[in-house]
Symmetry: C2
Subunit: 368 residues, 2 copies
């Protein structure tokens, strides 16, 4: 790999690993007879989106109306905006619904009443179900309220019921695989019960779930029809720290120049800060905050180091790395280090451009 | 203020307050005979940069080579890049130095040796001094190493010594005004001693300090020649929480639509997440993480609320607000709330556009 032209924080992408990650999930979806509707908020790139087409994906998930427009423009014809319908954007949503098959999320009777009154375009809706994450949605137990929303929707013939959608986001805060599977199983059971209750009335309804941890680790998808994992395309340290992937599965790294060295206090200063990584962190066993882990650049991208060297703090443009003295003394100012990000979605969102190992550059949404 | 067209997270800017904040600091600099070289990494906008010209500012600070180019293009002729010189960017730095008066930061003998060998353009350099923050720079006590760097530089006639530069970044982690002033005074004393040591040899040398907390609160600048505060232009909750400003001095707020309400658990869901705010937080007295504080939109921008209502968690696009039931019940889905950011620099960097109270829009660097 030629790194001569890398002079500032640069998001390196291992395409081969991305294709592997996509294929693994596509095979799993097929095996379990699940619709694979990947979430594109992680990569936000039309070109990377195209890589999913090779495994037969023709439906996607996004997290905003703007992102939906971007991917519709890139040729996607069936998009779910997996964010509570923002009534202030109804005009933009309807303009898009004129062009493609668009699904939205309904979180409340109040929003549905607004839609019934104002909706003029054919739009599919999922009802957002809260199975225990308690961020958004209607509690799975609240069957009456769910029924009321569906019945209200029937007053407007433009709206059609797609099913129930949930995101087991609390799997991200789990400590290990077993905890993730418990969260998944609780959620799956609640959704399967809901399905049993409604399927006779609405035989075409779907149960859609999100979150990369569940979709990666679970093996009993009974009652589930669709999965929407997003992070799997790249993975990151958050995922590897809870047992969802290995560090070798992580497909992105931020290449950062060394700008100073402090062997006496075991620190290296890099060009790479909160405007490149965001400020998400995990803890190591000693309860130190970890903002990234360091890898060595190699012929084929990067390789893990035996000693665990990590990004210990971030300010706007600076990053501080904790490292053994021997490693620090082996570095020259101007050397490049690869940093595995804690949260690849937020890192990609900030860097807005990918550099492939062969030198090709890929732009993202909102990058001029 | 007309909010009809605000449909997604929007960075509202109170220009009158910005002008007040700038003027206050300009008057203080004048009173203490200090060069006011504001840091533009907070606002990153050519237009807001122009507002500083009205108080006589003609020198600025930036945090990256790209940002220096952007502001040079906008007409600024004297720029300090307050980030350790990244030797990999020397080519870009020298191209810029052909056009304007450019100052860089030297952190080590190794970097200076590189510059001596490779520097071909007239460039001013500050030596970065560490007075206790321990992020970057040479310890103030290390007089011999400092002397060695200056002597090494003399081998290349393109390089001229500007003085010593420090950033008391640990003031951001202080708990109150008194702690900030202690940090400042320790740093000031160390720099004043260094100056006394070198001034006879280098009578034109300057002592330059950064950080909004010190520049705002300190009153004895003896030995200091230049200040580079940046955050003061907007302030934020981090600054108000440590006593540097009042919440009413904060000049930016993110306007976010309400997308759902959960009165039973005291929460409101807004469209506004980590891709709008970043993930910086402060703690309240009860040790809850605060990602923003809520204000009410009003005729002239926004006004604080009596009850302290705050943003308690962020995911990529979602924000969760903790609020009393009575407040939640007064809201309708689709209402707009103003959120005072914890760290205005990172928030502005993500939103990339300002909306003034009169409806005018201002673009930032890297916004197409």
């Amino acid at each position: 790999m030629n790194t001569t032209n890398i002079n500032s924080p640069t998001l390196l992408l291992n395409k081969e690993q991305v294709l592997k990650n996509i294929e693994t999930m596509a095979i799993k979806a097929k095996k379990h007879h699940l619709i694979f509707r990947p979430h594109f908020k992680t990569h936000q790139s039309a070109e990377i989106g195209n890589w999913f087409k090779d495994v037969g994906v023709d439906k996607i998930t996004v997290s905003s109306v703007g992102m939906a427009n971007y991917f519709a423009h890139a040729g996607w014809k069936d998009i779910t905006i997996a964010f509570p319908l923002n009534v202030r954007e109804l005009n933009d949503i309807e303009n898009l619904a004129k062009k493609i098959k668009l699904n939205v999320l309904i979180n409340s009777l109040e929003t549905m009443q607004y839609m019934v009154k104002n909706g003029t375009q054919n739009i599919g809706y999922f009802i957002k179900i809260d199975t225990g994450y308690h961020r958004a949605g209607i509690l799975a137990e609240n069957v009456e309220q769910i029924q009321q929303i569906i019945e209200t929707a029937e007053q407007n013939k433009n709206l059609y019921f797609k099913g129930f959608l949930a995101h087991f986001g609390h799997t991200y805060h789990a400590n290990n695989q077993s905890d993730i599977l418990k969260i998944f199983e609780t959620g799956r059971t609640k959704l399967a019960n809901l399905k049993e209750h409604f399927i006779h009335q609405y035989p075409n309804m779907l149960i859609s779930i999100g979150d990369t941890p569940s979709c990666t680790l679970a093996n009993n998808f009974s009652g589930i029809d669709e999965i929407r994992p997003g992070n799997l395309v790249f993975f990151d340290l958050m995922q590897s720290s809870i047992g969802v992937c290995h560090e070798k599965d992580i497909a992105v790294a931020v290449v950062c120049p060394v700008v100073d060295k402090y062997p006496e206090r075991g620190e290296v200063l890099i060009y790479g800060g909160a405007v490149h990584f965001s400020k998400e962190y995990i803890f190591n066993k000693q309860r130190n905050k970890i903002f990234g882990k360091i890898a060595q650049l190699s012929q084929n991208g990067w390789t893990e180091m035996e000693t665990k060297i990590y990004l210990s703090s971030l300010s706007q443009e600076h990053g501080v790395i904790k490292a053994p003295k021997s490693f620090i003394n082996s570095l020259k100012i101007g050397d490049l280090l690869a940093v595995l990000p804690v949260h690849s979605c937020l890192t990609a969102n900030l860097l807005k451009e990918y550099l492939l190992l062969d030198g090709e550059k890929i732009k993202m949404w909102r990058n001029c």
